[in-house]
Amino acid sequence: MKETSAGQFKKLPAVAYLFLVGVAGWWIPGMGHWLTGRPKRAALIFFSIMFAFLLGIWLGSIAVIDAKTPWYWAQLLNSPAVAYLAHVSKVFGLESYGKPREIGEIYTGIAGMLNLLCVVNAVYLAHCDTIKEQNK
């Protein structure tokens, strides 16, 4: 994860670069920061969000990812891969009730909302970098 390898994306048109940073940050937590040349932040974000998400689905099982509940929209902010987990959970008829489900939903939902915060921050940082480049 060298800054130079991430720096090549900065040569893209401004809108495409911002879009790429936003989408990459959504697909893989921390990827948006890595693309803007901030690998330390990217690693911290990736490991923290993955830890919260994995702990959530370990506590409540992947049945906590249920497309019929409002929590699903928060969970989906972790990554589009969550939609696949919801599909797997539905196909295998997995169920989770009570406290494990509540806590699992809270963990995975909050992990998703934290990722949204990181995506917004990564796009903002990319925008600031673009303006700096233009003013040079």
Binding site: A52, I57, W58, L114
Partner: protein, 80 residues
């Protein structure tokens, strides 16, 4: 075989009793929130400063949650 064992861990929920110990499950989440928030908020990531800032935020959230719990408990005791 190991992969199946790992996957199996995510297909059935763990047992969490309705005890005071279950409240400890809030701690990892508070830690994650503190780390992610400080990772995007600090201008520069220096290990010593970062850990200090994370611990400060972690402590602040924890103290605020304990105070909130005490206030709610007191209100419940007085009103109910």
């Amino acid at each position: 075989m190991i992969q199946i064992h790992i996957l199996a861990n995510f297909t059935s929920p763990v047992y969490i009793g309705s005890t005071a110990k279950a409240l400890l499950l809030a701690l990892p989440l508070i830690a994650v929130i503190s780390i992610v928030y400080k990772a995007i908020k600090l201008d520069e990531i220096k290990p010593a400063d970062f850990v200090k800032q994370v611990l400060l935020l972690f402590g602040s959230i924890l103290i605020f949650m304990i105070l909130t719990a005490v206030v709610i408990f007191a209100v419940m005791k007085i009103c109910c």
